[in-house]
Structures are given as C-alpha cells and as structure tokens.
C-alpha cells in the first residue's frame, strides 16, 4: 500500500480513557487515522477493540481524553452526533439489518429520512453499490431470506449509501459461517483499493495483513504496538504481541 502518512489526519484519538463501573476498559489510547488509510485493530477478546470503535461514533461515552474528527472535538455535551454519524459509517458483528424492511428499504432509510436526499438519486447509488457487491437481484428480499454473508454485504452497502468519510467495521465476519467470510472480506478489500478510510476490528490475521496500512495491537485496554503489517507479523516488537501471534499459528 502506498504511504498515506502524509495525508491529512481525518480522525484523531488523544489520550482516550473509558471505564465501565470504575474499571478501565480503554486507557491512554493515542491514534491518528489519516485520510485513505486502513487501520486494523487486533487484540485478544475483551481487550477493548470493539469498545474503541464504538467510542469513535459515540455509541459509548468516554470519561477522558479527546476524539477529534475533521478538527472538531467529539467530546462534551453539545456534539451533534446525528450529524457526525452520517460521516462515520459503521457495520456491526451481528447482522443488524432491520428485519421488517426489504433490502432496498434498509438502504434507503438513512439517506431518505436522515439526509433528505432525492429518492431517484439514492436509488441510482444504491443500485450501483448493490451491483458491486453482487446482490442487485436481492434488493426486494427481506433480511431473513438472505445468508449471513449476504446480510453483511447489504449492511456495508447501507452504510456506504450515506457517503461516509470513514467506515468502522466491528468484527463483521466473526458471526459468519467460514464459507461466507471471504465474500464479505472481498468487499472490504475493494473499498480499501478505492481509497476508503477504514478502521477494522477483526480476527482474520491473513486479511489484516493484506488490507492494513497500519496494525494497532491492543491488550488490556492499552495500545501495545503500532506498526506496518509486515513489521507487525514478521518482527513484532513486544513479547505480548509475539504470544498473541503464536496462538494463530499451528
């Protein structure tokens, strides 16, 4: 991947602190995400990866530090989260489509009701995106008629249709049948090639190495190591990273 370190910083996390009932879930996290960069967050279960992602679009409140998006702080009471979230797309682990709406209704909901855009224009964009993920023929299906992999691809299209500046992926393949993991990862890889800025939490090591510009390794709520994928996988700097990587090698 080309060097994106010189691109302007899109999202910056400064000294972030987050606790649940007095226990620190995230501590002293510093991270800058440059425009067009793909940052993959790795770490053992329960280390705080997902929490970090959820803090970035305000689904979790933080108790200290700052998150800066486009030069504006996302802390304090008067943050317009409804505005911000339109620019920060998120796809979750659980298939999160709305079961009472068809695929196309799911996709149109945000652009139409939140962004008040013209229906024809959204339809055009939705058609294009659906075609790209190979699901145009399922646009009138209900979520329950789709496989897990199809649902996740639709969820990605739904988020993309809002024209976000950055996409957050929270273990989007973790609940999938192994056979369906690839079709979802291919879509994300395609986005990376197009220059979409992304923060990805995953357990798919091979994919992480392939897609990432930078790997962030988190353990016990702290950033243990940040580096390029090659560096991280071949020459990890900390003992903890080595232990973690060993688990994934038989």
């Amino acid at each position: 991947m080309a060097n994106k370190e010189n691109n302007p910083v899109l999202l910056e996390v400064k000294n972030l602190y987050k606790e649940y009932d007095g226990r620190a879930a995230l501590d002293n996290i510093d991270l800058s995400i440059h425009k067009g960069e793909v940052v993959v967050v790795l770490g053992p279960s329960g280390c705080g990866k997902s929490t970090l992602l959820r803090c970035l679009n305000g689904l979790e409140m933080i108790q200290g530090g700052d998150i800066i998006f486009y030069g504006e702080s996302l802390t304090g009471k008067d943050v317009q989260w409804q505005e911000i979230r339109q620019k920060i797309g998120m796809v979750f682990q659980n298939y999160d489509l709305f079961p009472h709406m068809t695929v196309i209704e799911n996709i149109l909901l945000g652009p139409e009701k939140v962004q008040s855009r013209d229906r024809n224009e959204i339809m055009q964009q939705a058609t294009q995106l659906l075609d790209r993920v190979g699901l145009l023929d399922r646009k009138d299906a209900y979520p329950r008629q789709l496989s897990g992999g199809q649902k996740q691809r639709i969820a990605i299209v739904r988020a993309l249709c809002m024209n976000p500046e950055i996409m957050l992926f929270d273990e989007v393949t973790a609940a999938l049948d192994p056979e369906m993991v690839r079709e979802v990862l291919d879509v994300i890889l395609g986005l990376a090639k197009q220059g979409m800025t992304m923060v990805i939490v995953t357990h798919e090591m091979g994919f992480a190495r392939l897609v990432a510009d930078r790997i962030v390794f988190v353990d016990f709520g702290k950033v243990c190591e940040i580096g390029s994928p090659d560096e991280f996988f071949t020459n990890p700097k900390t003992e903890r990273t080595r232990q973690f990587l060993n688990i994934f090698q038989y």
Binding site: E83, N94, G110
Partner: protein, 225 residues
C-alpha cells in the same frame, strides 16, 4: 307457544332493543380500546425509560389495576369518586374512563414487553445511520414492536369487549341488561326465553370478537411470510 320459544326474539321491538343494547356495549368497548391503546403505547414507551422512579410509578399503576377487580373500580368511580367530588356523569362515561385506564395499564405492559424483546443492536444500528432517538423509535423499533405485540393486544381487546358486561352493575343498559329485562317480562309466558335471549347475546359477542381474532391471525400471517 312453548315449542317456539325463539319467537321471543321477534316479539314487539325486542330485537331492536337488543341491538340498541349492543350498540351501548360496542360504544363503550370501542372508546375504551381506542383511548386505552393510545395511552398504553405512551405508557409502554415511558416504561422503557431508564429512570427507576418513573418505572416504579408505572409498575404500581399496572399492579393496582391488575389486583383490584374491574367491578370494584367501577363502583369506586361511579358511586365513590362522583359523589365525593360531586361530579355528575353517566354510567357510560364512568365505564369508558375505568376501562380506558385499565386498558392503558395492560397495553402499556404489552408494549413494554414488545419493545424490550427487540435486540439492542437494532437501536444502535439505527443510531449509527444518524437517526435521532425519535427516528429510531418511529422507523425501526415501533414497527417491529407492533408486530410482536399484536397477539397480546387483540387478546386484550376481546377481553375488554367481554368485560364491558360488568357495566350493568353501575346502571348502564347494555345488551346483557336489555336481555335480562326481556326475559323478566316474558319468562312466565315463554319459559325458554332465557335460553333464546342469552343464546342470541352469546352469538352477538361472538360476532364482535371473532373478526378481531381473525384479523390478527391474518396480519400475523402476512408479516411472517
């Protein structure tokens, strides 16, 4: 005449009177269900609130209506409250007020149950799209909750229709009371009058409640496919 007891239905204006009584029953049931449902939905939304005080108050309200028989509520309202505060209202109005309050309590519980049964990530993925809390409720949670609560709500509606027969006790002339009057008048001449009149009322209640049940089945089927 004894062999043709069914004639009691067609004597004089008996049939007309029975339908007049039925209208009173239907009116009370209709307004109670409509008002009770609206208040109940509001109540259900309030009960998903995180505030412990609000939930506690709503909970007490529900339990008070569940524990105390509706008949006692009717008596308290009609003979107690109206006298106490010197309000002059008809039995029908008192009935609608009591049944609405009862319906709101029960409906509130059904709505709360339906909303809480929805997965938490539905709320989150709605918010992640930039929807406001109100928008999430309007487009995502309430449409789904309605589907889940429908069987319980229809069940409540039919229960309310049936329970309106208690209004006799506060002097409202509903279909059951009209029936009693006709029976009293004709039972010496037609000993089987009670059978025919109550049998007819039985069919009337069935005609009101059955379509409700049928309709809910149909909606359920439609939403499932």
């Amino acid at each position: 005449m004894q062999s043709l007891g069914i004639n009691v239905l067609f004597e004089g204006i008996n049939l007309q009177r029975l339908f007049g009584g039925l209208l009173v029953t239907v009116e009370i049931a209709f307004f109670s269900i409509a008002i009770g449902s609206l208040l109940g939905i509001l109540m259900g939304l309030i009960r998903t609130s995180k505030s412990k005080t609000i939930c506690f108050v709503c909970r007490i309200y529900l339990e008070v209506f569940r524990i105390i028989p509706i008949l006692v509520w009717l008596f308290i309202a009609y003979f107690g409250v109206t006298r106490m505060f010197d309000i002059h209202v008809s039995g029908e109005v008192v009935a609608v007020v009591v049944f609405s309050l009862w319906g709101a309590a029960e409906m509130g519980d059904i709505v709360r149950g339906a909303l809480e049964s929805l997965p938490r990530h539905q709320m989150e993925s709605g918010k992640a799209l930039g929807l406001s809390s109100l928008g999430v409720y309007r487009y995502i949670l309430i449409p789904q909750a309605i589907r889940r609560m429908l069987p319980g709500a229809i069940n409540l509606a039919t229960r309310m229709v049936k329970t309106t027969s208690l209004v006799v006790m506060i002097g409202v002339i509903d279909v059951v009371k009209v029936g009693q009057q006709i029976i009293e008048l004709s039972t010496l001449r037609i000993p089987t009058a009670a059978f025919w009149i109550y049998g007819f009322i039985f069919i009337l209640y069935f005609i009101i409640c059955y379509p409700l049940a049928k309709w809910s089945k149909k909606l359920e089927m439609k939403w499932e496919s």
